[in-house]
Subunit: 248 residues, 2 copies
Amino acid sequence: MKENKIPAATILRLSIYYRFLQELLQDNIGVVSSAQLAKHTNVNPAQLRKDLSYFGRFGVRGVGYDVAGLAEQISMILGLEKTWKIALIGVGNIGTALLKHKRFNEHGYNIVAAFDANPDLAGTKTSTDITIQPISELADTIKAQDIDIAIIAVPPESAQQVADEVVKAGIKGILNFAPVRLKVPSDVSIQHVDFTILLDTLSYSLAQNVNTREKHVQKDKPFKNVQGWSRAHSWPVANANFVVSASQ
Amino acid sequence: MKENKIPAATILRLSIYYRFLQELLQDNIGVVSSAQLAKHTNVNPAQLRKDLSYFGRFGVRGVGYDVAGLAEQISMILGLEKTWKIALIGVGNIGTALLKHKRFNEHGYNIVAAFDANPDLAGTKTSTDITIQPISELADTIKAQDIDIAIIAVPPESAQQVADEVVKAGIKGILNFAPVRLKVPSDVSIQHVDFTILLDTLSYSLAQNVNTREKHVQKDKPFKNVQGWSRAHSWPVANANFVVSASQ
DNA sequence: AAGTGTGAAGTCTTTCACAGCT
DNA sequence: AGCTGTGAAAGACTTCACACTT
């Protein structure tokens, strides 16, 4: 194990590899090569091996990787064996969808508390049987329940304030759905989910298109095409990383 | 204007700059320097100037940038003056939240059609007065209504199939919420929103933490810390870019 | 024969630092 | 005097290519 700096992109990819390994496990496939794994996750095989090499040597030369073993290793690296407790702040459209989102529980992410500024909501129960609390109880609940992660799904005006509060309460991981670049101390990890920015990148691509589609009559092509987003979570801009998804 | 390749990260940042410029406009601020703009968007001032320089020279030396003018320029670069038509496929938890999401319309992204595989949903109206159609009508509707972008919010099992269909129907931009790495032709732009991957990166950071919080007794620290996600949308892995967010 | 692990090369992105306008 | 625009340097990430192991 070389003690090098690990690219943020590597962590994202680890999560992707892990997901595919789970599929292989279900299909009772015992061994997989970097070439196979890489093909299914859209990366270069050397990239995959390099990613793993940051953490150790998990393969067998001439053979490949033990599926169960590698999954276990990645799980340990990412800290997935632990169940993380999450506080949801903002029970609006998106907050509600996240509450109902089954995948979270399946992956060890449990929303154990929900908060909303709307006094009509406070005191009511969610469909998942969580009592919505007023924002004023945020800090106390986070500490009392030992909550690890905050999901911020409040309107942009109040997002920074909520972030400040959860940070003060000791939270070290934030998943932010508010369309604002939140400022947090460097020991706090934050990931942004900003639909509008993503749509803007699609808009850019569509606007650039040497249109194959007749309808958009493109006068000229003033700007050059963008470098492939193909590297994934390349995480440019402040904290804009990759992107992943959750559905249903 | 140098005719160079444009980093994907640059496009993400452009969207972020644009958002802040709108705020300045509302506050009736007429001129802004790269230093100010950069500070509020968490980037290096040189980075911001370089980003803009890919597209032209929009500032005045010794002065700064005209807020309205720069906003207008970025709007043109990103293609934001156009109203894009969107088809939503999958009216589950997330799909429903997206339908209700007001920000989309405000930014020129209109969901004009919705589809779901559930026969009980087909024919019913959404709260936004869109009639949900069966998936079988996907291709025809996309063509008939000249739809530009598809938002995929179906379960992972059917996501690739849906992607194939919309691509065949001529769609060139996809926002994918299914936790699957979709394969699409290179002339189709895709952005992924994968909550689980993002949470996994938070999990990694939390698990690494030289815990300031007493409770997690950390035996040792086997892995090195990750390179700052601070560059934002650094977009590592295939298509995992950054991340932005939408709230409420 | 096959496939991993990895130094070194290559490529891409960011940051520096300063010339050049206003 | 101030701030942009940008080549050049620095830094980060990816890919190559091959030694090494089974």
